[in-house]
Symmetry: D3
Subunit: 238 residues, 6 copies
C-alpha cells in the first residue's frame, strides 16, 4: 500500500484550469493533488539574437517556487544567490519539453516565455509545470491567432509529463512528496499525445536499477501521460 492510498498505477486528481490570469496571452492553473503550479505564457517583444532571420521562433520557460510553497520555507532566490542549479535544470527541461510540441517554423521571429511558478508543492512540480505549461502555451497561440499575429496554431501534438519510481520494491506512478522522499528510483518522463518520447530522466537514488525495472517504469509513464493528454484535450476543447 502506498502512503497516498492510491493504486500503484493511479495518478492524483489532476485539474487544469485555463485562462486564470488577466494579463497573460495564455495561462493555466495546474493542480496535481496538493501540488499547485501557476503557468503563464507571455509573448516576448524580441526573439533571441541567435534566431533572427532564421525563419523560426522560440519557446522558453522559467520556473520558480514561492518561499512557502514547501513544508519548510525556502529562501527567495532573488534575495541571495540567484537561481539554483536545480531551478536551471528544471526550467531547461520544461522549455525543451514544450518545444517538442510546437512547429517553430510557423512562428517566425516570435518568442514565447512560459513562467511556471509553484504556489504549493507536494511532489511532481516539474511534471505539473510541463503539463499545465502546455495548456497555457496552447491558449497563448489561440490568442495570437485571434489577434492575427499568427495564422495557425503551431502546436501539432499535446505533451505532458509524469514521474514514476520504486517504492518498497514496487513500481508506482505520480509520486507525491512523501512517496518521493522514500523512493529508491526517481524517473521523469515527457511523452507526447501520440506516444513519442521527448525526454527520459531516470536516477537511481539508492541502488542501481536494471533493464526490466526500467521497462516497468516506462509502462506506467505511458499510462499516466495518456491520461494527462486526455485531460489536456478536454480542457482545451480539442
Amino acid at each position: 500500500m502506498r502512503p497516498s492510498k492510491r493504486a500503484f498505477d493511479e495518478i492524483r486528481q489532476v485539474i487544469l484550469e485555463p485562462d486564470i490570469n488577466k494579463h497573460a496571452e495564455g495561462s493555466c492553473f495546474a493542480r496535481f493533488g496538493d501540488t499547485q503550479v501557476l503557468c503563464t505564457a507571455s509573448l516576448e517583444d524580441k526573439a533571441p539574437l541567435w534566431l533572427r532571420n532564421s525563419g523560426r521562433g522560440w519557446v522558453t520557460a522559467e520556473y520558480g517556487m514561492l518561499p512557502r510553497s514547501t513544508g519548510v520555507r525556502i529562501e527567495r532566490e532573488a534575495c541571495h544567490k540567484g537561481q539554483s542549479g536545480r531551478t536551471h535544470e528544471i526550467q531547461r527541461l520544461i522549455g525543451r519539453s514544450l518545444r517538442a510540441s510546437v512547429d517553430l517554423s510557423k512562428i517566425p521571429d516570435l518568442s514565447i516565455r512560459v513562467d511556471c511558478d509553484v504556489i504549493q508543492a507536494d511532489g511532481g512540480t516539474r511534471t505539473a509545470a510541463i503539463t499545465g505549461g502546455f495548456v497555457a502555451l496552447y491558449r497563448a497561440f489561440e490568442k495570437l491567432k485571434k489577434l492575427s499575429i499568427i495564422e495557425e496554431n503551431p502546436i501539432f501534438s499535446t505533451v505532458s509529463a509524469i514521474s514514476c519510481g520504486f517504492y518498497q520494491g514496487e513500481a508506482i506512478l505520480d509520486l507525491d512528496y512523501e512517496e518521493d522522499s522514500s523512493a529508491e528510483t526517481d524517473a521523469n518522463f515527457v511523452i507526447t499525445g501520440s506516444g513519442g518520447i521527448v525526454e527520459i530522466q531516470g536516477t537511481a537514488e539508492k541502488i542501481p536499477f536494471n533493464r526490466e525495472d526500467f521497462n516497468k517504469l516506462l509502462d506506467l509513464a505511458y499510462k499516466g501521460t495518456s491520461e494527462l493528454s486526455k485531460i489536456q484535450k478536454t480542457v482545451l476543447g480539442i
Copy 2:
C-alpha cells in the same frame, strides 16, 4: 467619473481568504478587485542576531511579483540583479506596518516572516499585501497558540492600508492601475483599527499639493481603512 466607475470614496470589492496554504503557519489570499496577493506567515527557526536575549521577538516581510502579474511581463528578480529598490522599499514598509500591530515582547525569541507574493497586479499591491498579510499573521499566531508555542495572541489591534490620490482634481480612494497611472498625487496610508496612524507616504507625482489637499486624502484614508478593518475582523471572527 473615475475610470473604475466607483464613487470617489468607494473601495474595490475586497476578499480576504484565510488558510489557503497547506504548509504555512498562517496564510491569506487577498483580493482588492483584480489585484491578487498571496500572503503566508512562516515561523522562522531563528530570531535575528541583534534580538537575542532581548526578551522580544520579530516580524518581518518579503515582497515579490510573479513575472506575469503585470500587463507587460517583468523579469524575474532571481534572474538578473536581485531585488530592486522598489521591492526593498515595499517589503520594509510591510514589515514596519505589521509590527505596529504586535506586542513583540509577547513572542520572545520568535521570528515570523510574512511573504507577500503578487499573483496579479492592478494597482495597490502594497496595500493589499499589508491588509492580507495582517490576516496571515493573525492566523499564524493562532496556530502557535494552539501548538502552545506562545501563550496568547500578541496582536493588539488590526492594521490595514489603502491608497488615495487626486484624479482630475478630485480626491479618490483605493486607486486601481489605470487610475494610479494618471493620478497627480499618490499617497499610501497605514492605519490601525483604532485609528492610529502607522505610516503616511505621500508623493506629488506632478505638482506639489497643499495642506488642504492632504487633509482630503487623510479623510478618505480613515474611511477606507475603517472598512478594511471590519472585513479583517469578520474573516478572523474577532
Copy 3:
C-alpha cells in the same frame, strides 16, 4: 529640553558651500550641524532610454555613505552585496524631490545625476542631501547655460527637506542622531520654496500617532523648510 539644547523648533547651523569640486558641473558641500554631505551634479552623456524623443530631460540621484561616516564603521557597499534597501529608498526620494523643482521640458534629451555622499553622519543625511543637492543642481544648470547647452535655468522653485519627530512627547524639528535614536515618530518633509508639499514620509517608530500630532509636525516642517529655502537663495544669490 532636547539633547541638542536647541529650542523645539530650532534647526541646526546649516552651511551650504557651493562649487567645491573641480570637476563637477555643479557641487555643494552641505552641513547640518555635524552632518556633512558632499553633493555633485554631473551631466550624463546619455538620457535614459525610455525618455528619448519625449522632448523632456531627466534628473536622478545616487546616495552613498563613506565607511566611517558613522559611529560604528559600516561595510563598503561595493564590497559585499551592492546597495542596500535603505540606500535605494533614499536615492529614489532624493531624485523625486529634486525633479519637483525642475521643468524637465526645458532640458530635452539631457540627463543630470546628483551624487550625494555622506562624509560624516549625525542624523538627517537625506534632508541634507536634498537641500544641498538642490544647490548643486542649480549651479550645474547655471554652468550649462553659460556653455549654451541650455537656454534658461529650468528650475522654477527651490526645494528643501527637514525631519521632525516626537521626543518625550514633544514635537521637535531637525533631529540629530541622538534625538532620532530615541524619537517616537520619524517624519521627513520635502517642501518647495513656495510651500508646496512634494513628499511626506511619516513612520510611527513605537506607537501610532494621531491627526493632531501629525499637524504639529507639519507646522514645524513648514517653518524649517522656509528657513532652508532662504539659505539656499542666499548662497545662490537668487
Copy 4:
C-alpha cells in the same frame, strides 16, 4: 558512415592516466579521443553540515571548462555571472554518478570533492568526466587507506558513462562534437561495472523517439560502458 569513420558501436580511443597531479589525493587525466578532462579528487576538511553525526560521508563534484577548451572561446564563468545552468546540471550528474559506486557509510564524516576540468572538448565531456572522475576517486581512497584515514576502500563497483544517439537514422555510440551537433537524439547513460543503471538522460533534439529506438540506444550503452569498465580496472590494477 559516421563522420568519425568509426563503426556505429565503436568508442573512441580512451586513455585514463592516473596520478598526474602532485597535490591531489587522487587524480586522472581522461582522454576520449580529442576530449581531454583533468580530474582531481580532494579530501575536504569538513563534511557537509546536514551530514554531521549521520555515520556517513559524502562525495561531490564540480565541473568547469577552460576558456579555449572549445572551438569558439567561451567566457570564463568567474568573470561574468557564475556557473551556468548547464554547468550545474553536469556537476550534479557527475556527483550522483560517483556516489553510486561508493558505500558512504564506510567513510563517516569524510567528504571528497572531485573536480573535473575540461582541457579540450570534442563531445562527451560529461561522460569522460564521470569515467575519469571514478579513477581519481578510487586513487584518492587508496591514498586515504595508506594514510590510515579509512580502513578499506569504500568503492564496491566501477562506474562509467557513455553517450549514444541517432545519426542519420542509425544508432551510434560515443558521439564526438561533429556527430553530436547533427544528432537527432542525445542520450547519456551511467552504468556500473556490474550492469546496474545509475542514470539515464535521453532527450529528443528534433523528433520524439519511440520505445524500440530507445532500446537500441540502451544496447549500445551497455556495450560501451562494459568496455570502459575494463579500461578502468586495467589502469587501477583491480
Copy 5:
C-alpha cells in the same frame, strides 16, 4: 618644462590635516595639489580569523573613489559589479605599505582598517592615500593608547609614497593627472622615513626602460619621500 610648471624634482603642495572626522579613531584629509583623499582609521571589533592566537594584530586598507572625483563621472562600484581590479590592486598596496611601519606584535588581536576615499582626483591618489593613511593610522594608535587599549604606539617608522615617471624623456617627480596621462613610464615608490624600500612598482607604459633610467627615478623617489616624511612628522608633532 612640465605642464604643472614645477621643477622636475618638485612635489606638489602637500597638506595633511589630521583629526577631521568626528567618529573615527584616527583620520587625515590629505591633499597633494588638487588630489584630495579622506583617510580614516577604524578599530575593528574582530581580528581576522587566521590571526587568532598568533600574538599579532593586523592593519588593512580599503580604497574608493567618489563618483565625481574624476573629470568624467565614474560609476559607483556599489551599483554594478563590485570593486574593480584596479581598486583591489590599490587597496592591497596601501595595506602592505602601512603594515611596513607597524610592529604588529605590539597590537595582539587588534585589527585596524584604514579607509582611503578619493574626494577629488588629479593624479597620485594611491600615493596620497598611503601618505595620509599613515597619519590617520598613527593618530588612531595614539587614541587607543589614551584609552589604554594598547600600551605603546606600535609604529616604528613613518612611511610615505610618491610617483615618478618620464615626461618627454626627463625624469620627473609627483606627476599630476595631465603629466601622468602622457608619461612614458609610471613608477610608484613606497619608502620609510629611514630610507627603507617597502614597495617598487614600475611599468613601462610605452617603451621599456633601462637600468640607468630606473636609477634616476629611484633618486627622485628618495628625495620626494624624504620631504613627505618631514611633513608627516610635523603634523604629528613627532
Copy 6:
C-alpha cells in the same frame, strides 16, 4: 643552501611546449619545475570599443587556477564571488607584459586574448604565465599570418619574466613555493629579450630592503630572463 638544492642563480628546468591545443590560434604548455601553466591565445571577434578606428589592435590576458592546482584545494572563482583581487592583479600584469612585445599598430582592429590557466602550482605561476603566454601569442600571430589575416608578425622582441628574492639573507633566482613562503623580499621582473625593463614589482614581505639589495635582485633577473629568452627562441625556431 636553498631548499630546492639549486645554485643561488639557477632557474628551474623550463619546458615550453607549443601548439598543444587543437582549437586555439596559438598555445603553449609552460613548465617551470612543478609549476604548470596552460596558455592559449584566441583571436577575439571584436576589438575593445575604445580602440575602434584607432588603427591599433589589442592584446589582453586572463588568469585562473584549477581548484586543485594548489596544495590545499582553492574554491572555484566561478562559484563564489568572481575573480579575486590577486587574480585581477596578475592578469593585468600579464596583459601589460605581453603588449610590451607587440607593435599594436600592425594588428589594426584585431584583439587577442591570452588565457593562462594554472594546472599545477609550485611558485612563480605569473612568471611562467608571461613566459609561456608569449610563446602562445607568437604562435597565434604566425597562424594569423598563414591565414592572411595579418601581413607580418607584429612581435618585435621576446618578453619573459622571473621572480627573485632574499632567502636567509641571500639573493636567489626563480623561487619555488617552499622558497617563496619563507622569502623576506619578493620581486618579479619582466624583461625583453634585448634587456629592456617592462615591469618591476618588488615588495618587502618582512623588512624594507635597500638600494644595494635591490641591485642584487636586478642582476639575477637579467641573468634569468636572458636564459628564458633563449629557450623561447629555440622552441619558436627564431
